[in-house]
């Protein structure tokens, strides 16, 4: 694992997050949510700081981080693309949309394009089943996406 140094300022920010939850270990998941909101992802050193502040083992923090699919230890692309693979989207062809994204971006799920622009992930149901298949770019929701529409979505962010 690459050693990334967090700046003093960031560490202080993180400690403040922990403090806002009274450094209560039962609030670990809430702390992780806030931390991921702040940093975009949860690298090892971040987890180490959290562990120390909440007085729990780093292994425990890591165990929790790796349990929940919402948490990620890898930085996402500038435009994170998520394809909904919920049942409604699946039966309306989400898999083909995913294949097309993989093909066009030449990356697999969980990867980021070499230029750091796009990353690809899957998620389970955003609850917009009426718009299936659904694709998210960042927080923007694209509904009724067809494989043919994939290129247009990517083009929107390519410049």
């Amino acid at each position: 694992m690459a050693k990334i140094k967090l700046s003093e300022k960031k560490i202080e920010e993180l400690k403040d997050v922990c403090k806002s939850f009274n450094n209560d270990k039962a609030e670990l998941i809430n702390v992780l949510h806030k931390a991921q909101g702040l940093f975009g992802y949860l690298p090892a050193e971040l987890q180490e700081v959290i562990a120390r502040e909440l007085n729990i083992s780093v292994a425990h923090v890591y165990g929790v981080v790796t349990f929940y699919s919402f948490f990620t230890m890898l930085p996402k692309g500038e435009y994170p693309i998520s394809i909904c693979l919920g049942t409604a989207c699946y039966v309306r062809g989400a898999e083909k949309v995913l294949e097309e994204f993989k093909r066009v971006l030449k990356i697999q799920v969980g990867e980021t394009t070499p230029d750091g622009k796009f990353s690809l992930s899957c998620l389970r149901c955003v609850g917009a089943c009426g718009l299936a298949p659904v694709v998210l770019v960042g927080e923007k929701v694209y509904g009724r996406v067809s494989p043919e529409g994939v290129k247009d979505i990517i083009a929107e962010y390519s410049n």
């Binding site: 009426g130 659904v134 929701v141």
Partner: protein
Amino acid sequence: MKSAYHRLYKIFTITHIMEKIKSLSDLKMLQESLSAKINLREKINNSDALIQVKVAMATCGIASGAREVMEVFIEEFTKRNIDAVVTQTGCMGYCYAEPTVEITMPGVEPITFGYVDIKKASKIIDKYILNNELVDGIIPVNYETIDVQ
């Protein structure tokens, strides 16, 4: 986009000072005065009633552009000096036809329009609100809602 949304919050959330409700009878009194106010504004047979526009703003709706549609209604009403109340509401259940908007003209049963984009919102104002002429995409309300009382 976000700032506009927050502006909407301000317009359509509670403006009066909230005081603690001290008993069940206080609650019942508040209920009566509130529903009287709402009735005044909505009552079908009240010709002084306002035009009421409800935009379904659940995740589905917002993802399909309900926020923008709501803004169009507000802007157009302001621009054209139309007295109307625009509010957000939850999911009406017609996910296939999002964004959906329910319009209550004074004296008329509410009508729900589906597939309302920015263009269609203007069209609804021009045709239905100003001219009582319907536009395509009407969704019949096919459910019965219970009254809690």
